[in-house]
């Protein structure tokens, strides 16, 4: 579904992403793990279009995205949940959700999307008229994910969904991610520092370091790999 070839990008003079090639197959959950500062977020921002690609191709369903603005990428069926809690703080939960469906604003899809969101995260229904800025961190993360689903994407990108969230909520969020993948047949591309959690839900994984891909393999292989274990899983057998 997504194929990245020799991608180079960065900020100003510094080159952060130094030639990355990878692939995400339709229907899978694919994750990129790696340490802080490896360039995972920069890579995601480049794929979504917030940063221009300096070189290389980003093929989505065999079409090069590099010439498109983020808005167009949304219309092509890509949604991203960036790092941090990017809610619209002074809008209500419901208004936030509605904005998620900005590109498909017909009443029917809207209602379906809202029902789906409330189904996945019942707490959002309880808080629907509350200003999003007043939600807890975990609730905001749920809202952001639910909002990304509102545009009915084929391809969902999640940047560090576990960042700064209470452990019991992390589990719930990842369970939901898995559910979205299975029930909605949605392809999910995930960046995570919390490698064990990510690899447990993913089918395929890439290890990124210093702006390059160091390893790749099925999630199971990576979970069992000694180097990965030592570096990212925080345990040595």
């Amino acid at each position: 579904m997504l194929e990245v070839k020799n991608l180079i990008s960065g900020y100003g003079k510094s080159e952060v992403i130094r030639g990355i090639s990878l692939e995400v197959k339709e229907g899978q959950i694919v994750t990129i793990i790696g340490p802080n500062g490896a360039g995972k977020t920069t890579f995601f921002r480049t794929v979504f279009g917030f940063l221009p690609a300096r070189q290389g191709e980003i093929l989505f369903e065999n079409e090069d995205l590099t010439k498109y603005a983020p808005t167009v990428r949304v219309q092509k069926g890509i949604a991203m949940v960036p790092q941090g809690r990017n809610v619209f703080p002074f809008l209500t939960v419901l208004e936030n959700l509605k904005l998620g469906a900005y590109t498909r604003y017909d009443q029917k899809t809207l209602q379906e999307g809202i029902d789906l969101a409330y189904g996945l995260f019942p707490v959002l229904k309880e808080r629907k008229s509350q200003q999003a800025g007043t939600l807890s961190g975990g609730e905001q993360q749920m809202l952001v994910i639910a909002r990304a689903l509102m545009s009915r994407p084929k391809f969902l990108m999640l940047d560090e969904p576990s960042l700064g969230i209470a452990p019991f909520l992390i589990k719930e969020i990842f369970r939901t991610i898995k559910a979205i993948n299975e029930e909605q047949k949605m392809t999910i591309f995930l960046v995570e520092q919390n490698a064990p959690v990510a690899l447990r839900v993913a089918e395929w994984g890439y290890v990124m370091e210093g702006g390059q891909i160091h390893m790749s393999g099925s999630a199971q292989e990576l979970l069992n790999d000694d180097r990965v274990k030592g570096a990212y899983l925080g345990k040595k057998d």
Binding site: P70, T71, P89, G100, Y102
Partner: protein
């Protein structure tokens, strides 16, 4: 009491006019972090346009009004496309300097191209005063208050209830997140500039019979609106309105109960007090909250 009500009407009829111009400041700041020091000139130019259409070409009032708003909209569009869009990456300071330059250009351009004189503009409404006991109403003041309120309410509803309005709010709260939603932020910013110009054009038509039409009226209105926006809260539309009314009422009451000589000084003192006690403005929200 009659006196008080009389002053209240006077203060509100001025304040609401400052408020509607101040709303433009807020819209631009929220959506594009732009401070437009040419705001007053966006009122001045439509005033002259209105004179050209209604008085020079003798086109009836309503068609002139519509054409003036149309002209204002086009001006706002060109302003954004030809200037702001190119300068936005340079940051606020560049915009401030550029809009200051533009305001001077429009002001003195109008003086040279048209006239340094003040031009006449007729009353829009009856000038026959209405007496109600001790209170004397001027239909002009009442109509100004009513019509501008209606415009502000319609604007408010558009922002709260329509898809584009929601998109404007989204852009105001976080541009990047708005882009994530598939909102074309560039288009929204252009739209806001057009909207701002149309609002300023509306203010122009209501202000013309009160102030007459003069090339340098923009400095006066621009400064009042800017002060109003700061006093009320630069990041809230409500704030602009509250600020406008506060300035209008403060001027009037200070002039009536203290002295007329320092009416402008009181507004400046008020500005200082607000900045010291609540820098985000009376109903403003701290920017850190974003």
């Amino acid at each position: 009491m009659a006196n008080f009500i009389q002053l209240l009407i006077g203060g509100v009829s001025m304040g609401i006019l400052y408020g509607v111009v101040a709303i433009g400041f807020v819209l631009l700041w929220q959506t594009s972090q732009t401070i437009n020091f040419g705001q007053g000139e966006l009122v001045m130019v439509p005033m002259f346009l209105m004179v050209a259409l209604h008085i020079v070409l003798k086109i009836p009032f309503w068609p002139s009004f519509v054409l003036t708003l149309l002209g204002s909209g086009i001006m706002g569009y060109l302003f954004e496309r030809l200037m702001i869009r190119k300068l936005l990456p340079g940051g606020v300071l560049v915009i401030v300097i550029a809009t200051l330059g533009l305001s001077g250009f429009l002001r003195y351009g109008m003086q040279i191209a048209w006239t340094p004189q003040t031009l006449f503009f007729p009353h829009l409404f009856s000038t026959k005063p209405i007496e109600l006991g001790d209170i004397i109403f001027s239909p002009e003041d009442i109509w100004n208050i009513v019509l501008i309120s209606v415009i502000i309410i319609v604007l408010h509803l558009c922002i709260k209830r329509t898809k584009l309005g929601m998109a404007m709010q989204a852009v105001a709260q976080s541009r990047e997140t708005a882009e994530l939603m598939g909102i074309n932020v560039r288009h929204i910013i252009t739209l806001v500039f057009v909207l701002n110009s149309v609002l300023a054009g509306t203010a122009a038509v209501f202000a013309a019979p009160i102030f007459f039409v003069r090339y340098d009226i923009g400095i006066f209105l621009g400064v009042k609106a800017f002060v109003a926006a700061i006093i009320g809260g630069f990041n809230q539309i409500r704030g602009a309105l509250v600020g406008g009314l506060t300035v209008g009422l403060a001027e009037t009451f200070a002039a009536a109960y203290i002295t007329t000589a320092y009416r402008d000084a009181f507004v400046m003192i008020l500005l200082l007090v607000v900045l010291l006690i609540k820098p985000e403005g009376i109903v403003g929200i701290k920017e850190e909250a974003y």
